[in-house]
C-alpha cells in the first residue's frame, strides 16, 4: 500500500515536472513561434524570392541588389526611393526621440515639485497617448488645413505668412534661412537641407502624441529619488540647472536609457502617424506624400506590400533591412550606455 502511494506520488511529480509546464506554456510558445519568431526566418527566406500572393521565382540576392540600387541617385540627382526613405527615417528618429525625452524630462521635473492637481495635469499630458492615432491624427490634419485651419489663422494673427503645412514638400532649413534673408547654395547636399515642412508637422504630431508616455515613465523614476539627496545638494548651494543636470539626471539615467531604447524602436517603426497625416482628411495624396518627403521605411514597406504587385519579396527584404538597422542601433545604444548609465 505504502509503496504504491509513493510510486503514485513520484509519477505525479514527474508529470508535474514535465507535462504541466508544457501544458501551461504551450499556447504562448506556439503563438510566439508562429507569429513572432518563425516570421523572421520566413522573412529572410521570402526576401530571396520574387513573391506575389504565392512565391513566383527564386532570385537569390536580387532584392537586396535592388535595395542598394535604390539607395543611390535617381537621374535627376535626388536619392532613390530606398535612399529617400532612409533619410526620412533618420530625420524622423533624430527629430522626435531627443525632443520627446528632453521636453518630457522638463515637464516631469515640474510635475515632481509638489504641484497641486498633479493627477489632472498628468492626465492632460497623457490623454493624447491613449487616443488612437487615427482620431488624433485627423484632428491635426484639420488644425493644419492650409485654407481654413486654425493654425494658419494663428499665423496671420501674429503677422506671419500662411503655410501649406502637410502639403509642403520643401525642406525646412533653406526655408527658415530664406525667411531671414540668407540664400541656400545650389550644390549643397540634400540631407543638410533637413526634413520637409510636411515631415516636421508629422514629427510635431508624434512628439505631442507620445509625450505623455515619456512623462509618466520619467515621473516614475523621479519619485524613487530620495528627497534627502536633493535637500543636501540644495544646502550646498546647488542651483536648479546643476540640480537637474548633475543630480537628477544621473539618478534617473536608467529610466532615461530605457525610454531612449523604447522610443527609438518605436520611432523607427513609425507608420500610423505618417499614414494618417498624409493620406487622411480628404487630401487623398497617399501615404508618404508630398513628393515622398514623409516616406519612412515602414511606409515604403507598406507601399510594396499593399500597392504594388509581386513586390512582397522586396517588402520582406526591406523589413530585413529595418530589422538589422534596429538591431545595430539598439546594440550601439547598449554599448554607449554601459559607460553613461548609473545603476545603483
Amino acid at each position: 500500500m505504502a509503496s504504491e502511494i509513493i510510486v503514485r506520488r513520484r509519477k505525479r511529480q514527474r508529470m508535474e515536472r514535465l507535462w504541466l509546464p508544457a501544458l501551461y506554456l504551450a499556447p504562448t510558445l506556439v503563438l510566439l513561434w508562429a507569429f513572432d519568431i518563425y516570421p523572421i526566418f520566413l522573412s529572410a527566406w521570402m526576401s530571396l524570392w520574387r513573391w506575389g500572393i504565392q512565391p513566383e521565382e527564386f532570385i537569390g540576392l536580387d532584392n537586396y541588389i535592388r535595395i542598394f540600387e535604390q539607395i543611390g541617385s535617381r537621374p535627376g540627382g535626388a536619392p532613390g526611393e530606398v535612399g529617400q526613405s532612409l533619410m526620412v527615417t533618420g530625420f524622423y528618429v533624430l527629430g522626435t526621440v531627443p525632443a520627446t525625452i528632453v521636453i518630457a524630462f522638463v515637464i516631469a521635473n515640474l510635475l515632481n515639485s509638489k504641484v497641486r492637481f498633479l493627477g489632472a495635469l498628468r492626465t492632460a499630458y497623457f490623454v493624447p497617448y491613449i487616443t488612437s492615432t487615427v482620431a488624433a491624427g485627423l484632428a491635426f490634419v484639420w488644425l493644419l488645413n492650409p485654407q481654413v485651419g486654425v493654425l494658419n489663422s494663428l499665423m496671420e494673427w501674429f503677422g506671419l505668412p500662411a503655410q501649406q503645412w502637410l502639403l509642403d514638400p520643401e525642406p525646412i532649413v533653406p526655408k527658415l534661412l530664406g525667411a531671414v534673408g540668407i540664400g541656400w547654395p545650389d550644390g549643397a547636399p540634400g540631407f543638410l537641407a533637413g526634413p520637409s515642412v510636411a515631415l516636421v508637422c508629422v514629427m510635431a504630431f508624434s512628439v505631442w502624441n507620445t509625450l505623455g508616455f515619456a512623462v509618466v515613465i520619467i515621473l516614475a523614476g523621479l519619485i524613487t529619488i530620495d528627497p534627502q539627496v536633493k535637500e543636501a545638494a540644495r544646502m550646498d548651494g546647488v542651483n536648479s540647472w546643476q540640480m537637474a543636470t548633475r543630480i537628477t539626471m544621473p539618478l534617473v539615467s536608467p529610466t532615461l536609457f530605457l525610454l531612449l531604447v523604447v522610443s527609438t524602436i518605436r520611432s523607427f517603426q513609425s507608420f500610423n502617424e505618417v499614414y494618417v497625416l498624409t493620406s487622411g482628411g480628404g487630401y487623398g495624396a497617399g501615404a508618404g506624400s508630398p513628393l515622398d518627403s514623409t516616406l519612412t521605411l515602414p511606409v515604403l514597406i507598406f507601399r510594396h506590400l499593399y500597392e504594388r504587385p509581386s513586390s512582397v519579396g522586396f517588402a520582406a527584404a526591406l523589413s530585413m533591412l529595418l530589422f538589422f538597422l534596429l538591431l545595430i542601433v539598439t546594440l550601439v545604444q547598449f554599448r554607449f550606455a554601459e559607460r553613461r548609465v548609473h545603476y545603483d
Binding site: 515536472r17 504541466l20 509546464p21 501551461y24 506554456l25 499556447p27 504562448t28 503563438l31 510566439l32 507569429f35 513572432d36 519568431i37 518563425y38 516570421p39 523572421i40 522573412s43 521570402m46 500572393i53 515637464i107 515640474l110 504641484v115 495635469l121 498628468r122 499630458y125 490623454v127 491613449i130 487616443t131 488612437s132 487615427v134 482620431a135 485627423l138 484639420w142 488644425l143 481654413v148 486654425v150 489663422s153 509625450l211 508616455f213 515621473l219 516614475a220 524613487t224 535637500e231 529610466t255 524602436i265 523607427f268 517603426q269 500610423n272 499614414y275 494618417v276 482628411g281 487630401y283 514597406i301 507598406f302 506590400l305 499593399y306 523589413s319 529595418l322 530589422f323 534596429l326 538591431l327
Partner: protein, 323 residues
C-alpha cells in the same frame, strides 16, 4: 515627510543660531525669499498649464468643430465655439459610411474583447509556469520570450500576411495550407498574431513571483492543484497587474491600424479605425462631419481611460521602475 522634517530642522537651526541678528533685515530677507518662492510657483503653474492647454487644444478644437455647420466650420478667421451647436452632425456622421459606423464599432469590440481575453488567459498560464514551476530551461525560455519584444512589428508584418493565408484547413485551404485564402480577411486572422504578448507575460510573472511561497505550501496541504491555486488564490491577489494587462491589451487592440489594414479587405469586418480612415477619404472635405466622426471614435476611449487611469498609470509606473 522626510523633506518636511528637514525643512523644519533648518528653520530651527537658523533661528537658534542667529538670535541677536538685526531683526528688520532678516524680516525683509524672509519677505524677499517668500516673494521669490511665490513667483517661482506662479511661473511653474503657468508653464504647466500652458503645456496642458497645448496638449488638450486639438481635442477642444475637434469637438468644437464637430458642432458647427458647414458654413461656420469654413469661416476664416474661425469662431472659437459653435454659434448654434449642431447635434445632428453626430447622427449624420454615424450614418456616414455605407454600412454605418455601428458595424465598425461592433467589429472593433469583437477584436478587442476576444484579443484581450485570449492574451490574458495565455499570458496568465505562461507567466504562472515561468514564475512558479520548476522545469528545465525555465530561464532560457523566458529570455527567448522577452527577446521577442525586440522584433520590430514591421519585420513581422510581411511574413504574417503570408502566414495567415497558409493556415491549414481554414478558408478553403487543404491540409498543407494551400488552395484557399486561409485566415485572410477573417476575425481570427486579425486577432491571432497579437495574442502572445511578451510584455503581458513579463508583468504577470513579476506579480506572481511577489506572492510569498507560504500560500502555495498551505493550499498544497489541502491537496489543491496548480490550477486551483492559480485561479482561486493568485489571480485575486494580483488583480492590479491583471487589470493593467487588460487595459493595455484593450486600448492597444482598439487603436490598431496597420495589421487590420493588411489582414482584411471587406469593410464588413474591418475595425473602427479603418472605418474612420475610409470615412475621411470619402467625406474628408466635410470637416464638421469628419470631426463629429472623429469625436465619436476618440471619446469612448478617453472616457474609459478617465475611469481607470489610476490603474493604468500604476501599470506604466511598474514598467518604468523595473524596466
Amino acid at each position: 515627510m522626510a523633506l518636511h522634517t528637514i525643512e523644519n530642522k533648518t528653520a530651527e537651526t537658523t533661528r537658534t543660531r542667529s538670535p541677536v541678528g538685526p531683526p528688520k533685515k532678516s524680516a525683509r530677507a524672509h519677505a524677499a525669499q517668500r516673494w521669490r518662492r511665490k513667483a517661482s510657483r506662479v511661473v511653474l503653474y503657468g508653464a504647466l498649464i500652458a503645456g496642458a492647454v497645448v496638449m488638450l487644444f486639438p481635442f477642444f478644437w475637434m469637438i468644437s468643430s464637430s458642432l458647427k455647420t458647414f458654413q461656420e466650420v469654413n469661416l476664416s478667421p474661425p469662431t472659437m465655439l459653435p454659434s448654434d451647436p449642431q447635434w445632428s452632425n453626430y447622427a449624420q456622421a454615424w450614418e456616414g459610411p455605407p454600412s454605418g459606423f455601428g458595424r465598425y464599432f461592433l467589429n472593433s469590440l469583437i477584436v478587442a474583447v476576444l484579443g484581450t481575453a485570449l492574451q490574458l488567459v495565455t499570458g496568465i498560464t505562461a507567466a504562472y509556469a515561468f514564475a512558479r514551476m520548476k522545469f528545465r530551461f525555465n530561464n532560457l525560455l523566458f529570455l527567448v520570450v522577452l527577446a521577442t519584444m525586440m522584433i520590430p512589428f514591421e519585420a513581422r508584418i510581411v511574413p504574417n500576411y503570408v502566414l495567415i493565408r497558409q493556415i491549414p484547413l481554414t478558408g478553403g485551404n487543404d491540409l498543407l495550407g494551400e488552395g484557399g485564402s486561409g485566415l485572410y480577411d477573417t476575425y481570427a486572422g486579425m486577432i491571432l498574431p497579437g495574442v502572445a504578448g511578451a510584455f503581458a507575460i513579463f508583468l504577470l510573472r513579476q506579480a506572481f513571483m511577489a506572492v510569498p511561497r507560504d500560500y502555495w505550501d498551505a493550499i498544497r496541504m489541502d491537496g489543491a492543484s496548480h490550477w486551483t491555486f492559480l485561479w482561486r488564490v493568485l489571480i485575486p491577489m494580483t488583480m492590479p497587474a491583471v487589470l493593467t494587462v487588460v487595459l493595455f491589451g484593450f486600448i492597444g487592440r482598439w487603436n490598431e491600424l496597420l495589421w487590420p489594414l493588411i489582414a482584411t479587405q471587406s469593410e464588413s469586418i474591418r475595425p473602427v479605425q479603418l472605418g474612420l480612415m475610409a470615412f475621411s477619404g470619402d467625406e474628408g472635405s466635410l470637416y464638421h462631419l469628419l470631426m463629429a466622426a472623429t469625436t465619436l471614435v476618440a471619446v469612448p476611449g478617453i472616457i474609459f481611460f478617465l475611469f481607470v487611469q489610476r490603474r493604468f498609470v500604476e501599470g506604466l509606473t511598474a514598467f518604468g521602475v523595473k524596466g
